[in-house]
Amino acid sequence: MAERGGERGGERGGDRGGFGRGFGRGGRGDRGGRRGGRRGQRQEEEKWVPVTKLGRLVQEKKFATIEEIYLHSLPVKEHQIVEALVPGLKDEVMKITPVQKQTRAGQRTRFKAFVVVGDGNGHVGLGVKCAKEVATAIRGAIILAKLSIVPVRRGYWGNKIGQPHTVPCKVTGKCGSVTVRMVPAPRGSGIVAARVPKKVLQFAGIEDVFTSSRGSTKTLGNFVKATFDCLMKTYGFLTPEFWRETKFSKTPYQEFTDLLAKPTKGLMLEAPIETVEA
């Protein structure tokens, strides 16, 4: 018995993908089929093994859109979650700039990459990563950008006809000394902004907006972060549509736990039941 285990371990010594494949085919009972299936199935290069509970739920397709995650303010810790839930995500490198540090042996140069990701329809993320090599910095920045995806609220300038095209109200964001103010604009104005924040606004899916900035906008790192901060605030602004009292619902962790769910008596707050007693 032990050597059987050992032999099979030997065969699959280098084949780490083989173990994961077995799962795609179903449960414990299917032993013979599983062995055959493993050989037949195509090798997936990097199958995502989720680390967090949220990742496991997303992989089981318990979420339809990323909005359900935003509704419960769940922290997204794995970028594969975003890749799975937001289709049509595009990314672009805005800038790669070298940053230097003075050491005894001269200067140590690293590269800082700014990447913006978005689907052009209300979701945008910004990632900044420093690394010793450009490719590493870009890769890392894309992952961080996906982890920082936020929803962007759009509204109307005047008549509510057609789809929302501009910001719902005047909002302002700040980073360092740079403040960026976005003002609703009529349809057809286009994005009136400097080149760099314009890119972020395009990825967010805003069609018309007037912007005004203040501070040292030469520090474009801060400028682009201020724009992103401004976009984050669009959903933080309380408007009359939100005056109605929130009807709380179960968090996904409670909803998808069969065993520990207590019976609900009307409204229930979002505190999860199965917290670990420290």
Partner: protein, 365 residues
């Protein structure tokens, strides 16, 4: 500077989750393979401290320590199978089972030694044959030279004391313990079982400064496409990684995990654990000898994922409720033997010591 870390990667599933292996096998789930049939473990050590249910095995790791010359040493990680207890830290238990190394055994002589090592020598040849076979087959993948050394020493031991009476010893060949335990096994739930093979973690060492200069032409190309003179991007400094949902520690944890996405556990005797959160509890001291505890191994989230996948569809399944990111096991730094025959360490009995385990939870839940 960095210590070697060995990763436990998933191997084949066991055909039957209750199948028995020997105590040299490293596996996840299944039934614990005690080295001898009757270990003399107190029943409350194998019971959940919260609800009293019999604990089931999560991981069994064969962990010899070369520096301290202990080759018969296994670590068992046990947990309460009931879904309510699973998430609570008190329902997890770690047992370290080892046979104390007697100094005189290295010389390989002496009558009292022969009788003392009698019980072990009967079991060793049979298990050793199995081990050697599997050792040859997964040669490149298998564990350290430590294991080879340990087996070699066990072999010399066996050959030296082979002439001693085998029939005298209390623990007869392997078959008897199996038959004795079979009825008891079916009563406790058992986690899905799969075997582990080892690999060394090859974490890419940070490149030298010179290598980044090759990237400069690429960089220039990227800036030239824009060709906007008024944009200077001045005053940029180094920035630490930041994301809305994850902090720096977790991002580093995830990066190491992504390098080997299927790692079930990390083993590094006396090394540093890979933390998922900065808050870490103090390990404390060994309750038998008072020496400080040190990190030895940690179980990782992919293990939970695999157990979860295997148990899908079955109700009342413990691992469905687990939400930990990593479980860190601390053991006595001297790897002490709590009991000893007649006051001095002997080579005949197996000692069982309970060690410390800390959970790092996914705090979003």
């Amino acid at each position: 500077m960095a210590e070697e870390v060995h990763l436990g990667l998933p191997g084949p599933w066991a055909a039957d989750y209750r199948e028995k292996a020997d105590h040299y096998t490293t596996k996840i789930g299944g039934v614990p393979d005690w080295p001898t049939g009757d270990m003399g473990i107190k029943p409350e050590m194998l019971q959940c401290s919260l609800c009293g249910t019999k604990l089931c095995l999560v991981a069994q790791v064969y962990a010899p320590v070369v520096k301290l010359n202990i080759e018969e040493r296994i670590i068992y990680v046990l947990v309460c199978p009931t879904p309510e207890c699973g998430p609570r830290p008190q329902s997890w238990k770690v047992l370290r089972v080892q046979k104390c190394r007697n100094v005189e055994q290295t010389e390989g002589d002496g009558d009292e030694l022969g009788q003392g090592t009698g019980p072990s020598s009967t079991s060793v040849p049979e298990e050793q044959i199995d081990k050697n076979k599997s050792h040859d087959i997964n040669d490149d993948d298998f564990d350290l030279d430590a294991l080879a050394e340990a087996l070699e020493q066990a072999a010399t031991l066996a050959s030296n004391s082979k002439k001693k009476n085998k029939s005298k010893c209390a623990n007869a060949p392997i078959e008897r313990p199996v038959l004795k335990e079979k009825p008891a096994d079916l009563s406790i739930p058992v986690l899905p079982c799969f075997y582990i093979y080892y690999d060394k973690e090859q974490y890419r060492v940070k490149g030298a400064v010179g290598s980044s200069s090759n990237e400069f032409p690429l960089d220039k190309e990227m800036t030239d496409t824009g060709n906007y003179e008024e944009e200077k991007w001045d005053g940029e400094k180094y920035e630490y990684d930041k994301a809305i949902g994850a902090d720096r520690t977790f991002l580093k944890f995830k990066k190491r995990l992504d390098a080997y996405p299927e790692q079930c556990f990390r083993y590094s005797y006396g090394g540093k654990p890979l933390l998922a959160a900065t808050k870490v509890q103090d390990a404390g001291t060994c309750r038998f000898c008072g020496s400080p505890r040190q990190y030895e191994l940690q179980l990782m989230s992919p293990l939970l994922y695999f157990l979860h996948e295997a148990g899908k569809g079955s109700s009342n399944y413990g691992p469905s409720n687990w939400t930990w990111l990593t479980l860190i096991v601390y053991t006595c730094s001297k790897s002490c033997c709590p009991s000893s025959c007649g006051g001095r360490p002997c080579g005949c009995c197996w000692d069982v010591a309970e060690e410390e385990i800390t959970i790092q939870e996914d705090e979003a839940v």
